[in-house]
Amino acid sequence: MAIDVSTLLQILFWGLYAGCIYILLATGVNLIFGVMKTVNFAHGELLMIGAYVTWTLFSLTGLNPYLLLVATVPVLLLFGIAVQRLAFRPVLGSHKLNEIFLSIGLIYLFQNGAAMIWGGDYQSLRSPFESIAFDIGSFRLPLDYVIIIAVTVAILVGLQLLLRRTRLGLALRATSQNRKAAMLSGINVERMDMLAFGLGAALAGAAGTLWAVSGQVFDPYMGSVPAVKAFAIVILGGLGSIPGAIIGGLFYGVAESAATFTLGGAWKDAISFVVLIVVLVIRPTGLFGERGE
Protein backbone atom coordinates (compact mmCIF):
# COMPACT_ATOMS: atom_id res chain seq x y z
CA MET A 1 0.00 0.00 0.00
CA ALA A 2 1.54 3.25 -1.15
CA ILE A 3 1.21 5.92 1.50
CA ASP A 4 1.48 9.30 -0.08
CA VAL A 5 2.65 12.41 1.67
CA SER A 6 -0.72 14.10 1.76
CA THR A 7 -2.25 11.15 3.62
CA LEU A 8 0.56 11.27 6.17
CA LEU A 9 0.13 15.00 6.55
CA GLN A 10 -3.58 14.49 7.04
CA ILE A 11 -2.99 11.91 9.76
CA LEU A 12 -0.58 14.30 11.42
CA PHE A 13 -3.13 17.07 11.20
CA TRP A 14 -5.84 15.02 12.91
CA GLY A 15 -3.31 14.08 15.57
CA LEU A 16 -2.57 17.75 16.11
CA TYR A 17 -6.23 18.49 16.62
CA ALA A 18 -6.64 15.64 19.10
CA GLY A 19 -3.49 16.83 20.83
CA CYS A 20 -5.04 20.25 21.40
CA ILE A 21 -7.85 18.81 23.48
CA TYR A 22 -5.40 16.67 25.46
CA ILE A 23 -3.08 19.63 26.03
CA LEU A 24 -5.86 21.72 27.49
CA LEU A 25 -6.94 18.90 29.77
CA ALA A 26 -3.46 17.94 30.92
CA THR A 27 -2.47 21.56 31.52
CA GLY A 28 -5.52 21.97 33.72
CA VAL A 29 -4.65 18.87 35.73
CA ASN A 30 -1.08 20.07 36.18
CA LEU A 31 -2.15 23.55 37.18
CA ILE A 32 -4.41 22.13 39.86
CA PHE A 33 -1.76 19.71 41.02
CA GLY A 34 0.93 22.34 41.11
CA VAL A 35 -0.97 24.49 43.57
CA MET A 36 -3.16 22.08 45.50
CA LYS A 37 -0.86 19.06 45.31
CA THR A 38 -3.81 16.89 44.46
CA VAL A 39 -5.01 15.18 41.29
CA ASN A 40 -8.55 15.97 40.32
CA PHE A 41 -9.99 12.68 39.13
CA ALA A 42 -13.24 14.31 38.09
CA HIS A 43 -11.43 16.38 35.46
CA GLY A 44 -13.04 14.52 32.58
CA GLU A 45 -16.41 15.47 33.99
CA LEU A 46 -15.42 19.14 33.82
CA LEU A 47 -14.74 18.60 30.12
CA MET A 48 -18.18 17.09 29.77
CA ILE A 49 -19.86 19.93 31.63
CA GLY A 50 -18.07 22.41 29.39
CA ALA A 51 -19.48 20.68 26.34
CA TYR A 52 -23.00 20.69 27.77
CA VAL A 53 -22.85 24.32 28.88
CA THR A 54 -21.82 25.41 25.40
CA TRP A 55 -24.50 23.22 23.90
CA THR A 56 -27.14 24.74 26.17
CA LEU A 57 -26.05 28.27 25.34
CA PHE A 58 -26.00 27.39 21.68
CA SER A 59 -29.51 25.94 21.83
CA LEU A 60 -30.74 29.06 23.60
CA THR A 61 -28.99 31.75 21.59
CA GLY A 62 -27.86 30.14 18.35
CA LEU A 63 -24.66 32.19 18.53
CA ASN A 64 -21.41 30.98 17.03
CA PRO A 65 -20.07 28.31 19.41
CA TYR A 66 -16.57 29.77 19.24
CA LEU A 67 -17.94 33.05 20.52
CA LEU A 68 -19.75 31.14 23.23
CA LEU A 69 -16.35 30.14 24.59
CA VAL A 70 -16.28 33.62 26.05
CA ALA A 71 -19.31 32.66 28.11
CA THR A 72 -18.54 29.01 28.85
CA VAL A 73 -15.04 29.62 30.19
CA PRO A 74 -16.12 32.03 32.95
CA VAL A 75 -18.99 29.73 33.89
CA LEU A 76 -16.59 26.82 34.33
CA LEU A 77 -14.14 29.08 36.18
CA LEU A 78 -16.78 29.99 38.73
CA PHE A 79 -17.98 26.40 38.90
CA GLY A 80 -14.45 25.21 39.60
CA ILE A 81 -13.99 27.79 42.33
CA ALA A 82 -17.26 26.71 43.93
CA VAL A 83 -16.35 23.02 43.82
CA GLN A 84 -12.97 23.69 45.38
CA ARG A 85 -14.45 25.83 48.13
CA LEU A 86 -17.29 23.47 49.00
CA ALA A 87 -15.73 20.07 48.52
CA PHE A 88 -11.94 20.20 48.60
CA ARG A 89 -11.26 22.95 51.13
CA PRO A 90 -12.91 21.07 54.05
CA VAL A 91 -10.60 18.10 53.57
CA LEU A 92 -7.46 20.16 53.14
CA GLY A 93 -4.80 18.93 55.51
CA SER A 94 -6.33 15.54 56.02
CA HIS A 95 -4.84 12.50 54.37
CA LYS A 96 -4.18 12.80 50.65
CA LEU A 97 -6.35 9.78 49.99
CA ASN A 98 -9.38 11.73 51.14
CA GLU A 99 -9.03 14.15 48.28
CA ILE A 100 -8.82 11.29 45.82
CA PHE A 101 -11.95 9.68 47.22
CA LEU A 102 -13.72 13.00 47.16
CA SER A 103 -13.02 13.24 43.44
CA ILE A 104 -14.64 9.86 42.95
CA GLY A 105 -17.79 11.09 44.64
CA LEU A 106 -17.68 14.13 42.39
CA ILE A 107 -17.51 11.90 39.33
CA TYR A 108 -20.77 10.21 40.31
CA LEU A 109 -22.32 13.53 41.15
CA PHE A 110 -21.33 15.29 37.93
CA GLN A 111 -22.06 12.44 35.56
CA ASN A 112 -25.49 11.68 36.88
CA GLY A 113 -26.33 15.25 37.70
CA ALA A 114 -25.64 16.04 34.05
CA ALA A 115 -27.82 13.11 33.02
CA MET A 116 -30.62 14.42 35.20
CA ILE A 117 -30.36 17.94 33.81
CA TRP A 118 -29.71 17.24 30.16
CA GLY A 119 -30.82 13.64 29.74
CA GLY A 120 -28.63 10.63 29.16
CA ASP A 121 -28.76 10.66 25.37
CA TYR A 122 -25.97 11.65 23.05
CA GLN A 123 -25.88 15.23 21.83
CA SER A 124 -23.91 17.01 19.20
CA LEU A 125 -23.26 20.50 18.00
CA ARG A 126 -22.92 21.96 14.55
CA SER A 127 -20.37 24.61 13.77
CA PRO A 128 -21.46 27.34 11.35
CA PHE A 129 -18.16 26.90 9.53
CA GLU A 130 -18.54 23.20 9.00
CA SER A 131 -18.69 23.26 5.24
CA ILE A 132 -15.65 25.50 4.79
CA ALA A 133 -12.39 23.75 4.03
CA PHE A 134 -9.12 24.55 2.32
CA ASP A 135 -7.90 21.97 -0.16
CA ILE A 136 -4.17 21.97 -0.76
CA GLY A 137 -3.77 19.28 -3.33
CA SER A 138 -5.35 16.24 -1.73
CA PHE A 139 -4.64 17.59 1.74
CA ARG A 140 -7.83 18.87 3.25
CA LEU A 141 -7.84 21.55 5.94
CA PRO A 142 -11.31 22.20 7.31
CA LEU A 143 -11.58 25.70 8.76
CA ASP A 144 -12.96 24.46 12.08
CA TYR A 145 -9.81 22.58 12.93
CA VAL A 146 -7.62 25.51 12.06
CA ILE A 147 -9.70 27.62 14.41
CA ILE A 148 -9.51 24.98 17.13
CA ILE A 149 -5.74 24.84 16.92
CA ALA A 150 -5.55 28.63 16.90
CA VAL A 151 -7.86 28.90 19.90
CA THR A 152 -5.78 26.38 21.82
CA VAL A 153 -2.60 28.29 21.10
CA ALA A 154 -4.29 31.51 22.14
CA ILE A 155 -5.45 30.01 25.42
CA LEU A 156 -2.01 28.64 26.18
CA VAL A 157 -0.39 31.96 25.39
CA GLY A 158 -2.93 33.69 27.59
CA LEU A 159 -2.22 31.29 30.40
CA GLN A 160 1.50 31.86 30.09
CA LEU A 161 0.97 35.61 30.21
CA LEU A 162 -1.17 35.20 33.29
CA LEU A 163 1.41 33.08 35.04
CA ARG A 164 4.48 35.06 34.08
CA ARG A 165 3.37 38.65 33.77
CA THR A 166 0.74 39.20 36.41
CA ARG A 167 0.92 39.39 40.18
CA LEU A 168 -1.78 36.77 40.42
CA GLY A 169 0.27 34.44 38.30
CA LEU A 170 3.28 35.13 40.47
CA ALA A 171 1.28 34.26 43.55
CA LEU A 172 0.09 31.03 41.92
CA ARG A 173 3.60 30.01 41.02
CA ALA A 174 4.90 30.90 44.43
CA THR A 175 2.23 28.78 46.09
CA SER A 176 3.00 25.82 43.87
CA GLN A 177 6.72 26.06 44.49
CA ASN A 178 6.68 26.49 48.23
CA ARG A 179 3.39 26.73 50.00
CA LYS A 180 4.74 27.60 53.43
CA ALA A 181 6.95 30.35 52.12
CA ALA A 182 4.09 31.73 50.08
CA MET A 183 1.90 31.79 53.16
CA LEU A 184 4.58 33.53 55.13
CA SER A 185 5.01 36.18 52.49
CA GLY A 186 1.34 37.07 52.79
CA ILE A 187 -0.21 35.16 49.92
CA ASN A 188 -3.68 33.84 50.65
CA VAL A 189 -2.97 30.24 49.68
CA GLU A 190 -6.56 29.16 50.11
CA ARG A 191 -7.56 31.68 47.48
CA MET A 192 -4.81 30.36 45.24
CA ASP A 193 -6.28 26.88 45.61
CA MET A 194 -9.67 28.11 44.48
CA LEU A 195 -8.18 30.04 41.60
CA ALA A 196 -6.06 27.12 40.43
CA PHE A 197 -9.02 24.79 40.45
CA GLY A 198 -11.14 27.37 38.72
CA LEU A 199 -8.54 27.85 36.00
CA GLY A 200 -8.16 24.11 35.59
CA ALA A 201 -11.91 23.81 35.23
CA ALA A 202 -11.97 26.68 32.76
CA LEU A 203 -9.33 24.95 30.62
CA ALA A 204 -11.32 21.73 30.73
CA GLY A 205 -14.43 23.67 29.81
CA ALA A 206 -12.68 25.15 26.80
CA ALA A 207 -11.55 21.67 25.79
CA GLY A 208 -15.13 20.46 26.11
CA THR A 209 -16.40 23.27 23.91
CA LEU A 210 -13.84 22.53 21.21
CA TRP A 211 -14.67 18.84 21.47
CA ALA A 212 -18.32 19.55 20.88
CA VAL A 213 -17.79 22.06 18.09
CA SER A 214 -15.66 19.66 16.08
CA GLY A 215 -18.68 17.43 15.78
CA GLN A 216 -17.79 14.74 18.28
CA VAL A 217 -20.83 13.45 20.06
CA PHE A 218 -20.95 13.71 23.83
CA ASP A 219 -23.02 12.21 26.61
CA PRO A 220 -22.76 12.49 30.40
CA TYR A 221 -20.25 9.63 30.56
CA MET A 222 -17.82 10.70 27.87
CA GLY A 223 -15.42 12.33 30.30
CA SER A 224 -13.72 9.29 31.76
CA VAL A 225 -11.67 8.16 28.79
CA PRO A 226 -10.18 11.60 27.95
CA ALA A 227 -9.47 12.03 31.67
CA VAL A 228 -7.49 8.81 31.85
CA LYS A 229 -5.49 9.89 28.85
CA ALA A 230 -4.88 13.27 30.46
CA PHE A 231 -3.48 11.47 33.50
CA ALA A 232 -1.27 9.35 31.30
CA ILE A 233 0.00 12.50 29.60
CA VAL A 234 0.58 14.16 32.93
CA ILE A 235 2.66 11.23 34.10
CA LEU A 236 4.48 11.15 30.79
CA GLY A 237 5.25 14.84 30.82
CA GLY A 238 5.85 15.12 34.51
CA LEU A 239 3.35 15.87 37.23
CA GLY A 240 3.10 19.61 37.75
CA SER A 241 4.98 20.58 34.62
CA ILE A 242 3.03 22.67 32.15
CA PRO A 243 5.56 22.40 29.31
CA GLY A 244 5.44 18.66 29.93
CA ALA A 245 1.69 18.71 29.52
CA ILE A 246 1.96 20.55 26.23
CA ILE A 247 4.59 18.31 24.70
CA GLY A 248 3.03 15.21 26.18
CA GLY A 249 -0.38 16.17 24.85
CA LEU A 250 0.93 16.74 21.36
CA PHE A 251 2.85 13.51 21.44
CA TYR A 252 -0.20 11.57 22.57
CA GLY A 253 -2.48 13.05 19.96
CA VAL A 254 -0.09 12.22 17.14
CA ALA A 255 0.79 8.79 18.57
CA GLU A 256 -2.86 7.83 18.75
CA SER A 257 -3.47 8.96 15.22
CA ALA A 258 -0.45 7.06 13.97
CA ALA A 259 -1.44 3.95 15.91
CA THR A 260 -4.95 4.04 14.47
CA PHE A 261 -3.52 4.34 11.00
CA THR A 262 -1.02 1.53 11.31
CA LEU A 263 -2.47 -0.90 13.84
CA GLY A 264 -6.16 -0.17 13.56
CA GLY A 265 -8.61 1.77 15.68
CA ALA A 266 -8.94 -0.94 18.28
CA TRP A 267 -5.43 -0.25 19.48
CA LYS A 268 -5.92 3.46 19.94
CA ASP A 269 -6.47 3.51 23.68
CA ALA A 270 -4.21 0.60 24.46
CA ILE A 271 -1.26 2.34 22.81
CA SER A 272 -1.57 5.34 25.10
CA PHE A 273 -1.46 3.17 28.15
CA VAL A 274 1.37 0.98 26.95
CA VAL A 275 3.42 4.15 26.52
CA LEU A 276 2.41 5.11 30.04
CA ILE A 277 3.60 1.83 31.52
CA VAL A 278 6.89 1.98 29.64
CA VAL A 279 7.53 5.49 30.92
CA LEU A 280 6.65 4.52 34.46
CA VAL A 281 9.05 1.64 34.42
CA ILE A 282 11.92 3.58 32.89
CA ARG A 283 11.45 7.03 34.32
CA PRO A 284 8.72 7.21 36.93
CA THR A 285 8.88 10.94 37.37
CA GLY A 286 8.11 11.57 33.76
CA LEU A 287 10.00 13.36 31.03
CA PHE A 288 10.15 16.67 32.81
CA GLY A 289 10.36 15.44 36.35
CA GLU A 290 7.97 15.87 39.18
CA ARG A 291 7.53 19.25 40.78
CA GLY A 292 6.30 19.71 44.29
CA GLU A 293 6.16 17.06 46.95
Binding site: V91, F101, L102, L109, A115, F273, P284
Partner: protein, 333 residues
Protein backbone atom coordinates in the same frame (compact mmCIF):
# COMPACT_ATOMS: atom_id res chain seq x y z
CA UNK B 1 -8.44 8.52 58.44
CA UNK B 2 -8.93 6.46 61.57
CA UNK B 3 -5.71 5.62 63.26
CA UNK B 4 -6.46 2.59 65.32
CA UNK B 5 -8.05 -0.60 64.21
CA UNK B 6 -11.22 -0.57 66.21
CA UNK B 7 -12.13 -3.38 68.52
CA UNK B 8 -15.70 -4.51 68.28
CA UNK B 9 -17.23 -6.10 71.35
CA UNK B 10 -17.58 -9.88 71.00
CA UNK B 11 -21.32 -9.75 71.63
CA UNK B 12 -21.77 -7.68 68.48
CA UNK B 13 -19.68 -10.09 66.47
CA UNK B 14 -21.75 -13.07 67.60
CA UNK B 15 -25.00 -11.31 66.81
CA UNK B 16 -23.75 -10.31 63.39
CA UNK B 17 -22.67 -13.87 62.74
CA UNK B 18 -26.03 -15.23 63.85
CA UNK B 19 -27.83 -12.79 61.59
CA UNK B 20 -25.61 -13.74 58.65
CA UNK B 21 -26.32 -17.41 59.23
CA UNK B 22 -30.05 -16.78 59.43
CA UNK B 23 -30.36 -14.61 56.34
CA UNK B 24 -31.50 -17.48 54.07
CA UNK B 25 -34.28 -18.18 56.51
CA UNK B 26 -35.21 -14.51 56.68
CA UNK B 27 -35.27 -14.40 52.89
CA UNK B 28 -38.39 -16.59 53.22
CA UNK B 29 -37.82 -18.59 50.10
CA UNK B 30 -37.28 -15.64 47.82
CA UNK B 31 -34.47 -16.62 45.49
CA UNK B 32 -34.17 -13.00 44.52
CA UNK B 33 -33.31 -11.89 48.05
CA UNK B 34 -30.96 -14.79 48.55
CA UNK B 35 -29.13 -13.95 45.33
CA UNK B 36 -28.89 -10.31 46.36
CA UNK B 37 -27.50 -11.39 49.72
CA UNK B 38 -24.95 -13.71 48.13
CA UNK B 39 -23.81 -10.94 45.81
CA UNK B 40 -23.60 -8.59 48.79
CA UNK B 41 -21.34 -11.09 50.56
CA UNK B 42 -19.08 -11.23 47.53
CA UNK B 43 -18.82 -7.46 47.58
CA UNK B 44 -18.01 -7.53 51.26
CA UNK B 45 -15.03 -9.76 50.51
CA UNK B 46 -14.04 -7.47 47.66
CA UNK B 47 -14.41 -4.35 49.78
CA UNK B 48 -12.33 -5.91 52.57
CA UNK B 49 -9.61 -6.54 50.03
CA UNK B 50 -9.64 -2.96 48.81
CA UNK B 51 -9.84 -1.69 52.35
CA UNK B 52 -6.77 -3.70 53.35
CA UNK B 53 -4.80 -2.01 50.60
CA UNK B 54 -6.11 1.40 51.60
CA UNK B 55 -5.02 0.70 55.17
CA UNK B 56 -1.45 0.63 53.89
CA UNK B 57 -1.99 4.09 52.43
CA UNK B 58 -2.62 2.97 48.85
CA UNK B 59 -5.93 3.96 47.34
CA UNK B 60 -6.51 1.91 44.21
CA UNK B 61 -9.01 3.29 41.73
CA UNK B 62 -8.92 0.28 39.45
CA UNK B 63 -9.43 -2.71 41.67
CA UNK B 64 -11.87 -4.07 39.12
CA UNK B 65 -8.76 -5.18 37.25
CA UNK B 66 -8.00 -7.77 39.95
CA UNK B 67 -11.64 -8.63 40.50
CA UNK B 68 -12.01 -9.28 36.79
CA UNK B 69 -8.68 -11.04 36.31
CA UNK B 70 -9.52 -13.46 39.10
CA UNK B 71 -12.91 -14.03 37.51
CA UNK B 72 -11.50 -14.67 34.05
CA UNK B 73 -8.62 -16.85 35.25
CA UNK B 74 -11.01 -18.99 37.23
CA UNK B 75 -13.67 -19.18 34.51
CA UNK B 76 -11.20 -20.06 31.78
CA UNK B 77 -9.29 -22.73 33.70
CA UNK B 78 -12.54 -24.25 34.93
CA UNK B 79 -14.17 -24.47 31.52
CA UNK B 80 -11.03 -25.32 29.54
CA UNK B 81 -9.51 -27.90 31.86
CA UNK B 82 -12.64 -29.03 33.62
CA UNK B 83 -11.24 -28.28 37.05
CA UNK B 84 -13.63 -27.78 39.96
CA UNK B 85 -14.42 -24.14 40.75
CA UNK B 86 -13.12 -24.53 44.29
CA UNK B 87 -9.66 -25.04 42.86
CA UNK B 88 -9.85 -22.50 40.08
CA UNK B 89 -11.08 -19.78 42.41
CA UNK B 90 -7.87 -20.11 44.37
CA UNK B 91 -5.93 -20.07 41.15
CA UNK B 92 -7.80 -16.94 40.12
CA UNK B 93 -6.76 -15.29 43.35
CA UNK B 94 -3.12 -16.24 42.87
CA UNK B 95 -3.15 -15.06 39.29
CA UNK B 96 -4.59 -11.70 40.32
CA UNK B 97 -1.99 -11.53 43.09
CA UNK B 98 0.78 -12.01 40.58
CA UNK B 99 -0.47 -9.19 38.39
CA UNK B 100 -1.00 -7.11 41.50
CA UNK B 101 2.62 -7.53 42.49
CA UNK B 102 3.73 -6.43 39.04
CA UNK B 103 1.66 -3.26 39.26
CA UNK B 104 2.75 -2.76 42.82
CA UNK B 105 6.36 -2.86 41.74
CA UNK B 106 5.82 0.09 39.41
CA UNK B 107 3.91 2.22 41.89
CA UNK B 108 5.10 1.31 45.31
CA UNK B 109 7.77 3.95 45.55
CA UNK B 110 5.58 6.69 44.18
CA UNK B 111 3.02 8.95 45.71
CA UNK B 112 -0.65 8.15 46.24
CA UNK B 113 -1.82 9.91 43.13
CA UNK B 114 0.49 7.90 40.92
CA UNK B 115 -1.00 4.72 42.21
CA UNK B 116 -4.46 6.12 41.78
CA UNK B 117 -3.84 7.18 38.19
CA UNK B 118 -2.03 4.02 37.24
CA UNK B 119 -4.64 1.73 38.73
CA UNK B 120 -7.39 3.85 37.18
CA UNK B 121 -5.81 3.47 33.78
CA UNK B 122 -4.76 -0.13 34.32
CA UNK B 123 -8.32 -1.37 34.65
CA UNK B 124 -9.08 0.19 31.28
CA UNK B 125 -5.93 -1.25 29.73
CA UNK B 126 -6.83 -4.74 30.93
CA UNK B 127 -10.33 -4.38 29.55
CA UNK B 128 -9.01 -3.18 26.19
CA UNK B 129 -6.49 -6.00 26.03
CA UNK B 130 -9.09 -8.60 26.95
CA UNK B 131 -11.40 -7.57 24.13
CA UNK B 132 -8.77 -7.10 21.45
CA UNK B 133 -5.42 -8.79 21.84
CA UNK B 134 -6.60 -11.63 24.05
CA UNK B 135 -10.04 -11.99 22.49
CA UNK B 136 -9.13 -15.44 21.27
CA UNK B 137 -8.71 -16.70 24.81
CA UNK B 138 -11.20 -14.56 26.62
CA UNK B 139 -14.00 -14.57 24.08
CA UNK B 140 -13.74 -10.82 23.57
CA UNK B 141 -16.83 -8.77 24.33
CA UNK B 142 -18.90 -11.93 24.15
CA UNK B 143 -17.26 -13.24 27.27
CA UNK B 144 -16.99 -16.84 28.31
CA UNK B 145 -19.03 -19.29 30.33
CA UNK B 146 -18.12 -20.42 33.82
CA UNK B 147 -19.36 -23.54 35.58
CA UNK B 148 -21.61 -22.90 38.55
CA UNK B 149 -20.05 -22.69 42.00
CA UNK B 150 -22.53 -25.23 43.28
CA UNK B 151 -24.02 -27.37 40.51
CA UNK B 152 -27.82 -27.24 40.44
CA UNK B 153 -27.84 -30.98 40.87
CA UNK B 154 -26.88 -30.44 44.51
CA UNK B 155 -30.02 -30.10 46.70
CA UNK B 156 -30.66 -26.60 48.02
CA UNK B 157 -27.88 -25.33 45.77
CA UNK B 158 -28.55 -21.59 46.30
CA UNK B 159 -28.37 -22.04 50.07
CA UNK B 160 -25.18 -24.07 49.89
CA UNK B 161 -23.75 -21.33 47.67
CA UNK B 162 -24.64 -18.64 50.17
CA UNK B 163 -22.99 -20.48 53.06
CA UNK B 164 -19.90 -21.22 51.01
CA UNK B 165 -19.41 -17.54 50.24
CA UNK B 166 -20.11 -16.69 53.86
CA UNK B 167 -17.43 -19.17 54.91
CA UNK B 168 -14.93 -17.52 52.58
CA UNK B 169 -15.85 -14.11 53.99
CA UNK B 170 -15.27 -15.33 57.54
CA UNK B 171 -11.88 -16.78 56.63
CA UNK B 172 -10.91 -13.52 54.93
CA UNK B 173 -12.01 -11.53 57.96
CA UNK B 174 -10.02 -13.73 60.31
CA UNK B 175 -6.90 -13.41 58.18
CA UNK B 176 -7.18 -9.65 57.93
CA UNK B 177 -7.94 -9.34 61.63
CA UNK B 178 -4.82 -11.27 62.51
CA UNK B 179 -2.70 -9.14 60.22
CA UNK B 180 -4.16 -5.76 61.09
CA UNK B 181 -3.95 -6.35 64.83
CA UNK B 182 -0.40 -7.49 64.61
CA UNK B 183 2.86 -6.14 63.32
CA UNK B 184 1.50 -5.64 59.83
CA UNK B 185 -1.29 -3.39 61.01
CA UNK B 186 1.08 -1.26 63.04
CA UNK B 187 3.46 -1.00 60.14
CA UNK B 188 0.61 0.05 57.87
CA UNK B 189 -0.44 2.75 60.27
CA UNK B 190 3.11 4.02 60.55
CA UNK B 191 3.63 4.08 56.77
CA UNK B 192 0.29 5.76 56.23
CA UNK B 193 0.88 8.55 58.67
CA UNK B 194 4.51 9.40 58.13
CA UNK B 195 6.62 7.42 55.78
CA UNK B 196 9.90 9.08 56.72
CA UNK B 197 9.47 8.31 60.39
CA UNK B 198 8.39 4.78 59.60
CA UNK B 199 11.55 4.23 57.61
CA UNK B 200 13.57 5.70 60.46
CA UNK B 201 12.13 3.14 62.87
CA UNK B 202 13.21 0.33 60.61
CA UNK B 203 10.02 -0.36 58.70
CA UNK B 204 10.55 -0.88 55.01
CA UNK B 205 7.52 0.72 53.36
CA UNK B 206 8.20 -0.93 50.03
CA UNK B 207 8.07 -4.44 51.42
CA UNK B 208 4.86 -3.84 53.34
CA UNK B 209 3.22 -2.02 50.45
CA UNK B 210 4.02 -4.82 48.06
CA UNK B 211 2.66 -7.33 50.52
CA UNK B 212 -0.54 -5.31 50.86
CA UNK B 213 -0.84 -5.15 47.10
CA UNK B 214 -0.38 -8.83 46.54
CA UNK B 215 -2.77 -9.93 49.25
CA UNK B 216 -5.38 -7.35 48.34
CA UNK B 217 -5.25 -8.34 44.68
CA UNK B 218 -5.49 -12.01 45.65
CA UNK B 219 -8.62 -11.56 47.75
CA UNK B 220 -10.18 -9.28 45.15
CA UNK B 221 -9.52 -11.97 42.54
CA UNK B 222 -11.15 -14.58 44.73
CA UNK B 223 -14.19 -12.33 45.13
CA UNK B 224 -14.41 -11.84 41.39
CA UNK B 225 -14.22 -15.57 40.78
CA UNK B 226 -16.92 -16.18 43.39
CA UNK B 227 -19.24 -13.72 41.69
CA UNK B 228 -18.69 -15.10 38.24
CA UNK B 229 -19.28 -18.70 39.23
CA UNK B 230 -22.59 -17.59 40.67
CA UNK B 231 -23.55 -15.79 37.45
CA UNK B 232 -22.32 -18.59 35.23
CA UNK B 233 -20.89 -16.17 32.69
CA UNK B 234 -18.15 -13.54 32.59
CA UNK B 235 -17.94 -10.56 30.22
CA UNK B 236 -15.47 -7.65 30.03
CA UNK B 237 -17.96 -5.36 31.78
CA UNK B 238 -16.45 -6.85 34.91
CA UNK B 239 -13.53 -4.44 34.48
CA UNK B 240 -15.78 -1.39 34.43
CA UNK B 241 -15.21 1.73 36.54
CA UNK B 242 -18.37 1.15 38.55
CA UNK B 243 -16.96 -2.18 39.73
CA UNK B 244 -13.82 -0.30 40.73
CA UNK B 245 -15.73 2.34 42.62
CA UNK B 246 -18.20 0.24 44.63
CA UNK B 247 -15.64 -1.10 47.15
CA UNK B 248 -14.45 2.48 47.64
CA UNK B 249 -17.96 3.67 48.41
CA UNK B 250 -18.72 0.72 50.67
CA UNK B 251 -15.48 0.96 52.61
CA UNK B 252 -15.48 4.70 53.08
CA UNK B 253 -19.10 5.01 54.11
CA UNK B 254 -18.64 2.13 56.51
CA UNK B 255 -15.30 3.17 57.88
CA UNK B 256 -12.02 3.22 56.03
CA UNK B 257 -9.26 1.12 57.52
CA UNK B 258 -11.52 -0.72 59.93
CA UNK B 259 -12.52 -4.33 59.65
CA UNK B 260 -16.22 -3.77 60.25
CA UNK B 261 -16.35 -0.74 57.97
CA UNK B 262 -16.64 -2.49 54.61
CA UNK B 263 -19.24 -4.87 56.02
CA UNK B 264 -21.43 -2.15 57.46
CA UNK B 265 -20.91 0.00 54.40
CA UNK B 266 -21.88 -2.77 51.98
CA UNK B 267 -25.07 -3.53 53.86
CA UNK B 268 -26.04 0.11 54.32
CA UNK B 269 -25.38 1.21 50.76
CA UNK B 270 -26.93 -1.92 49.23
CA UNK B 271 -30.11 -1.42 51.23
CA UNK B 272 -30.15 2.24 50.28
CA UNK B 273 -29.53 1.37 46.64
CA UNK B 274 -32.23 -1.27 46.38
CA UNK B 275 -34.62 0.90 48.35
CA UNK B 276 -34.09 3.88 46.07
CA UNK B 277 -34.67 1.69 43.06
CA UNK B 278 -38.05 0.82 44.44
CA UNK B 279 -38.88 4.49 44.42
CA UNK B 280 -37.97 4.57 40.76
CA UNK B 281 -35.07 7.03 40.66
CA UNK B 282 -32.68 6.43 37.83
CA UNK B 283 -29.78 8.85 37.79
CA UNK B 284 -30.76 10.32 41.13
CA UNK B 285 -29.62 7.11 42.81
CA UNK B 286 -26.07 7.65 41.62
CA UNK B 287 -26.19 11.32 42.56
CA UNK B 288 -27.24 10.35 46.06
CA UNK B 289 -24.46 7.79 46.33
CA UNK B 290 -21.95 10.34 45.09
CA UNK B 291 -23.18 12.87 47.63
CA UNK B 292 -23.02 10.21 50.32
CA UNK B 293 -19.38 9.60 49.51
CA UNK B 294 -18.51 13.29 49.47
CA UNK B 295 -20.35 14.07 52.69
CA UNK B 296 -18.84 11.06 54.41
CA UNK B 297 -15.33 12.11 53.44
CA UNK B 298 -15.92 15.65 54.67
CA UNK B 299 -18.07 15.19 57.73
CA UNK B 300 -17.72 11.60 58.82
CA UNK B 301 -14.27 10.52 57.71
CA UNK B 302 -14.26 7.58 60.07
CA UNK B 303 -17.40 6.24 58.52
CA UNK B 304 -20.60 4.78 59.92
CA UNK B 305 -18.79 2.53 62.39
CA UNK B 306 -17.58 5.60 64.20
CA UNK B 307 -21.13 6.75 64.88
CA UNK B 308 -21.55 4.83 68.14
CA UNK B 309 -18.30 6.19 69.48
CA UNK B 310 -19.16 9.72 68.43
CA UNK B 311 -22.48 9.39 70.12
CA UNK B 312 -20.77 8.06 73.21
CA UNK B 313 -18.28 10.91 73.26
CA UNK B 314 -21.07 13.40 72.74
CA UNK B 315 -22.98 11.91 75.64
CA UNK B 316 -19.91 12.12 77.83
CA UNK B 317 -19.68 15.76 76.96
CA UNK B 318 -23.33 16.33 77.74
CA UNK B 319 -22.82 14.76 81.14
CA UNK B 320 -19.87 17.03 81.74
CA UNK B 321 -22.03 19.97 80.75
CA UNK B 322 -19.98 20.85 77.68
CA UNK B 323 -22.53 20.03 75.03
CA UNK B 324 -21.63 23.08 72.99
CA UNK B 325 -18.01 22.11 72.52
CA UNK B 326 -17.58 20.25 69.24
CA UNK B 327 -16.25 16.73 69.57
CA UNK B 328 -12.81 16.42 68.07
CA UNK B 329 -11.56 13.37 66.27
CA UNK B 330 -8.87 12.89 68.88
CA UNK B 331 -11.45 12.39 71.59
CA UNK B 332 -13.22 9.77 69.54
CA UNK B 333 -10.01 7.76 69.31
Amino acid sequence: MPVAFDRVRPTVVWIALAVALLVPALASGSLYLLTTASIALVFMIYSEAWNFLAASGQGSLGHAAFFGLGAYASALTASRFGLPPALTILFGGLFAAGIGLLIGLTCVRLKEWFLAMVTFGFAIIIQTLMVSQFAGISGGWDGTAAPALVPSSVPFAPYVQYYLVLAVLIVVLLVFRRLLRGRVGLAFAAIRENEVEARASGIDPVRYRLFAFGLSACVAGIAGALEIHQFGYVTPEVFGTDISFWPIIYSISGGLGTLAGPLVGTVAVTVLWEGLRGVGLTYARFVIVGLLLILTVIFLPSGLVSLPRRFQAWRRQVEKGEADVPVSDAEIG
